[in-house]
């Protein structure tokens, strides 16, 4: 695997790694790391450096829902135009085209279930081309982006071994 991919993977795992740390880990010079990261940003391989937060442990009230959306693809545009339109709402955290019984999977965030219900009923469902929506509220997250929200599997090794 290329050094470029190594850097993508390292930053995906921990975006707080400094250029210096990445240079030590990969054996590249700091300047090389800087250049590669810059080109990854320019190529839009790296889109954003963010933090995975367990909101349940904060005072912020957050409710998330996954919405299955069936749509009519548009002439010459397929699903892209409608997916981008849905994506323009601040409440929408992700939009993906998926295989199976419906077309788009939309993740929505709100303060309360009612707020999400209103968003779906008043803004998402009426969009031209949206045929149906099915809302699934996320009740508890166990794992996201490879990270356990619960304690996860514990290290079963003894604390000190020869």
């Amino acid at each position: 695997m290329s050094k470029k991919m190594d850097i993508v993977e390292l930053l995906h795992e921990n975006s707080r790694l400094t250029d210096k740390q990445i240079s030590v880990i990969t054996g590249l010079s700091e300047d090389e790391v800087k250049d590669i990261v810059k080109s990854l940003e320019e190529e839009k391989v790296i889109l954003k450096y963010s933090t995975l937060v367990n909101w349940e442990k904060t005072e912020k009230e957050v409710v998330r829902a996954l919405i299955d959306v069936r749509v009519t693809p548009q002439q010459g545009q397929g699903f892209n135009a409608i997916a981008e339109r849905i994506g323009q709402y601040d409440e929408v955290k992700s939009v993906s085209l998926i295989s199976g019984g419906y077309d788009l999977s939309v993740e929505v965030e709100g303060k309360t279930m009612k707020e999400i219900a209103i968003f779906v009923a008043e803004r998402l469902a009426p969009i031209d081309g949206v045929l149906s929506t099915t809302t699934h509220f996320i009740l508890k997250r166990y794992k996201q982006d490879g990270v356990f929200f619960t304690d996860g599997p514990e290290d079963k090794r003894l604390v000190v071994t020869p």
């Binding site: 880990i25 000190v160 020869p162």
Partner: protein, 387 residues
């Protein structure tokens, strides 16, 4: 019950330095341990699935004492493919219950009362006790950081007597992470042959070698017949709990070791043996992925220890660093106990690995980068007080 019934040889074996420290750590709460000598990966799923399937198929019997022929063929293929070694699966390879049994068998098949066995130190904690259990005499060969913790010809010569029978060659090394390159092995080969020594080459970390391939001393001309190669699945395939190891040696050695093995152990567990076949033929990518991950951590942790202010030898194998703590003026034990009490970090005192280990600590990097970085923050704050 009085211990008057216990044999003298067992009574005289000192308790392991690791055991002592383990007791201390076990009684502490919320610690981050960098003291583990085993991979943090789970055995690849393909291997686990194979064990489940063979159990499902009812494979619950003994195997031949030497182990399943298919596994010995796989091991023969692996040794040839990875290290250029040629061993006949029919009579030059045997499967053991981990490399630990392999160490015991190799020593027991060679040692008569009073025979001396050379043990480079610092090294794995089991060699000396196992030698003593055979009523042999361990003779330490100190290795030094300035020589990259390897045995030099002079060190070796200085310890050979008329009673010397064997040399243990533990490379890549636990705890130092040192490796012996081909030229290092060639430099001691002549002395080994001249004094008619047998080499017990413990190569359990052979797949965890960075910046180049592992070289087995058995691959050098004239060395196969006087080398007993010990290896296993624990480190390379993250299979510590499966207890699966193997020995590759000339037929006469295998025959002798099998004599002991058939009376004491019979065979390694059959489901582990089948899993081992799968591991060899289908897990090359997993080995590579794990090695790469260890390598990344190795670079980070060595660099960080140096930045914190410790002198740190750069390991080329295994998954440990062995930094010097001499600057602090503390003994290894004091350093580790204080680090545990003050910062809740567990590392292993260097003196647990034999003479010459004092003044060093063993730090395992068989942990995620996140965990290593958290531990390093605490080690740095401790270092500010003791350096």
């Amino acid at each position: 019950m009085s211990n008057k019934y216990i044999s003298d040889v067992v009574k005289n074996i000192p308790p392991s330095g690791i055991r002592k420290f383990f007791d201390l750590v076990t009684n502490s709460r919320d610690i981050i341990s960098l003291g583990v000598g085993e991979p943090d990966f789970v055995t690849p799923w393909t291997v686990r699935k194979e064990a489940i399937d063979v159990l499902d198929r009812g494979a619950t019997t003994y195997t031949s004492n030497l182990g399943l022929l298919e596994l010995r063929e796989a091991v023969s293929f692996f040794l040839k493919n990875h290290y250029g070694l040629n061993y006949d699966p029919e009579n030059e390879i045997m499967i053991t219950v981990g490399a630990s049994e392999a160490i015991d068998l190799a020593l027991r098949c060679l040692i008569n009362d009073g025979d001396e066995v050379l043990v480079p130190v610092p090294s794995y904690v089991s060699y000396s006790p196992c030698i003593e259990l055979t009523r042999g005499v361990p003779v330490y060969v100190p290795t030094y950081e300035e020589n990259n913790f390897i045995i030099t010809p002079d060190d070796l010569k200085s310890k050979i007597t008329s009673k010397t029978k064997a040399l243990i060659l533990p490379y890549p090394n636990n705890p130092t992470g040192a490796i012996m390159k081909k030229e290092d092995l060639e430099a001691i080969k002549g002395i080994i042959i001249e004094h008619d020594l047998i080499v017990i080459s413990d190569e359990i970390y052979s797949e965890l070698t960075y910046d180049g391939k592992h070289v087995s001393i058995a691959s050098l001309p004239d060395m196969k017949e006087r080398t007993i190669v010990l290896n296993g699945f624990s480190k390379a395939f993250a299979m510590t709990g499966w207890r699966l190891g193997y020995i590759a040696a000339e037929h006469s050695f295998i025959e002798a070791m099998n004599k002991i093995h058939q009376y004491t152990t019979i065979c390694a567990p059959i489901m582990a043996q089948y899993a081992g076949i799968k591991a060899i033929y289908e897990c090359e990518d997993d080995i590579e992925k794990m090695r790469k991950t260890y390598d990344q951590r190795r670079r980070l942790i060595v660099n960080s220890f140096r930045e914190i202010g410790f002198d740190c030898f750069e390991p080329k194998g295994a998954f440990y660093i062995f930094p010097s703590i001499k600057k602090t003026g503390l003994s290894s034990q004091e350093f580790c106990e204080r680090l545990l009490k003050e910062e809740k970090i567990a590392v292993v005192p260097g003196d647990a690995f034999g003479p010459g280990g004092d003044g060093f600590i063993r730090v395992s990097y068989a942990y995620s980068i996140d965990k290593i970085m958290k531990a390093l923050e605490r080690i740095e704050s401790f270092a500010k007080r003791v350096l």
